[in-house]
């Protein structure tokens, strides 16, 4: 049976069903449904909820819980996500699995509280200091908020790396029917790296500080090898009517929903349009985009920002097709008619 809930609530349910032990967060719009829901539900379940004194503290509480092998998460929106970058860089370096959610709003600075997609660079290119990657997932509806949150912990633990869900204020706050169809996880695999007290074993220490000559260089090589494996195994995308398409829209999150409507409109107008939607923003579906790139095909990247993912599309296309961009920033929302007009111009 489906239930009508906001994307943010669906996200909470996904994480809780996946056995979330602890949530740490801080108020910021448009993600306030998350701490509000967690403050009730986690406490009722006898699990940990703390409203931290800051985004920084909340992210570091996640680090603390997760370093012991527990499933922990935090959520925020764009300005708050900037503050969490410190802990994210540490967790990447310390190889700690955890879930971090960004329900994006308009920026830069305090920006506004409308949904936006302008934190793409921050999410996929690092954000914090150092040579690291996050696995970045981009759900585009409430159902996927639920499923993505549920799956993210297994993914994070499989690779011992933080996972980010890059959502936005629209997906987060829109109410949609959700099928809560995943089994509850109650048993967790033993983690041979976690800090649990050194009972009947040698003490462990988890750190990112590696001062011995060559040791940090080695650690970075190991991280890159891990990222290489993730890139091979974990790419997810949705391909919609791309086989015969002369115009392929690339879009993620809420922009992909609007783009899909535009593709349908274009088809009604006799234009062979298609949609390639990355569900993982990192690793990026470069291979399929590269395969789709042909001289007679044009790409149109649609984003609620001023052109961020389009750079990765261009890298994947590598000059084989024309790549155009259509977007709005600062909380502006593009509609399917605007996209259709752009498509018409491109096929001319």
């Amino acid at each position: 049976m489906k239930k009508l809930v906001k994307g943010n609530v669906a996200l909470c349910e996904g994480a809780i069903t996946a056995g979330l032990h602890a949530y740490f967060g801080y108020p910021i719009t448009p993600q306030n449904e998350v701490p509000a829901y967690m403050s009730r539900k986690m406490v009722e379940l006898g699990r940990v909820f703390i409203q931290g004194e800051s985004e920084i503290a909340s992210a570091n509480m996640v680090l603390g819980a997760a370093v012991t092998g527990k499933r922990a998460m935090t959520s925020s929106s764009s300005p708050g996500m900037s503050l969490k970058q410190e802990a994210l860089s540490y967790m990447a370096g310390m190889e700690i699995p955890a879930l971090i959610v960004n329900v994006q709003r308009g920026g830069p600075g305090l920006g506004n509280i409308s949904g936006a997609q302008s934190d793409y660079f921050q999410a996929v290119k690092g954000g914090g200091h150092g040579d690291y990657r996050l696995i970045v997932l981009a759900p585009n509806c409430a159902q996927e908020m639920y499923e993505t949150a549920y799956d993210s912990f297994d993914l994070a633990e499989k690779y011992r790396t933080p996972v980010m869900i890059l959502s936005d204020g629209i997906v987060g706050q829109m109410m949609e029917p959700v099928e809560f169809n995943r089994p509850e996880i109650k048993e967790f695999a033993n983690k041979d790296w976690a800090l649990t007290g050194c009972m009947q074993r040698e003490p462990r220490s988890i750190k990112s500080l590696l001062m011995r000559e060559g040791s940090l260089e080695r650690h970075n090589i190991d991280l890159q090898e891990k990222y290489e494996i993730i890139s091979k195994n974990e790419v997810q995308y949705e391909s919609y009517l791309t086989d015969d398409a002369q115009i392929i829209i690339t879009a993620f999150g809420i922009a992909s929903r609007i783009s899909k409507s535009a593709v349908k409109l274009a088809r009604k107008n006799g234009i062979k349009a298609g949609l390639l939607r990355p569900k993982t923003l990192w690793p990026f579906p470069s291979k399929i985009i590269s395969e789709l790139a042909k001289p007679q095909t044009a790409f149109l990247c649609v984003e609620l920002n001023h052109g961020q993912m389009v750079e990765d599309v261009r890298l994947a296309v590598n000059g084989k097709s024309r790549v155009e961009f259509l977007g709005k920033g600062g909380g502006g929302i593009i509609n399917e008619i605007e996209i259709l007009e752009k498509i018409k111009k491109l096929v001319k």
Binding site: V48, I56, N60, A87
Partner: protein
């Protein structure tokens, strides 16, 4: 022959990186002895700071994690809340705890987290070469107060124990030192008492240990000890600041 004294099990047999005459070695040993005596080594998860004690995990013989600069109280909160059966303490310096991490410190204390903080106050940032810390004394010359700390420009030394004592949730706060054997014995008593309180679930404790930093102070170890006795503890008075369990 009977062995009457040895290295605590909680301390690894590693050579420490601390400067000659520095107090950290003594404080590490006191912490290790207290943990051995309380029998909690195998359920300890410690949080190392950024600062001189950043390599604490190379010396302590139990599970330890790193934390970003100033965040140990938040990291410890995450550990303890999800593992209430574990023994959790942080080991932090004055810059870590009362400058960049002041917010994390105050709020962990205000939530009454059932953790222990060992706070080593040596009146400067030791690891980075002796810059001014919030605890630097008025007139004290550091790398970043070459003319001496001027309260008009840099304010006054922060007394963290007194600051935290106003919070209802804090349980036990005491300032001790390690500049002579009598004070070392007293510091051990306070550290063990704070640890015992955590084991009994009594809430937030912080032991401030006034220590010396001869190299960054530009003194011989003996002169640095004299400075602790004559100047440092004049500003930072030793003694019990708060013990809520005694008030009840």
């Amino acid at each position: 022959m009977k062995k009457i004294l040895s290295r605590p099990e909680s301390l690894k047999d590693n050579q420490m990186h601390y400067c000659p005459g520095c107090g950290h070695g003594i404080i590490h040993r006191l912490v290790a002895e207290a943990i051995d005596e309380l029998g909690v080594r195998e359920k300890t998860i410690a949080v190392a700071p950024v600062g001189c004690a950043v390599f604490a995990y190379d010396y302590f013989n139990f599970d330890t994690t790193e934390a970003p600069h100033g965040r140990p109280p938040a990291v410890a909160t995450g550990i303890k809340r999800t593992n209430p059966d574990k023994f959790v303490f942080t080991y932090q310096g004055d810059g870590d705890i009362s400058a960049i991490g002041m917010s994390e410190t105050i709020h962990a204390a205000n939530r009454g987290e059932n953790i222990t903080i060992i706070f080593v106050n040596n009146a400067n940032y030791g690891m980075t070469g002796g810059q001014m810390a919030p605890t630097t004394l008025i007139g004290q010359v550091t790398e970043t107060t070459p003319f001496g700390r001027d309260p008009k420009r840099e304010g006054y030394p922060i007394h963290l124990c007194e600051l935290l004592s106003s919070l209802t949730a804090t349980t036990y706060l005491e300032r001790v030192s390690i500049y002579n054997p009598k004070n070392i014995i007293n510091a051990k008593r306070a550290i063990k008492k704070a640890f015992q309180y955590q084991i009994e679930g009594k809430g937030f404790s912080l032991i401030e240990v006034i220590s010396n930093c001869p190299v960054d102070w530009g003194m011989t170890p003996l002169d640095s000890i004299k400075w602790v006795e004559e100047k440092f503890i004049e500003e930072f008075k030793l003694g019990l600041i708060k013990d809520k369990t005694e008030q009840i």
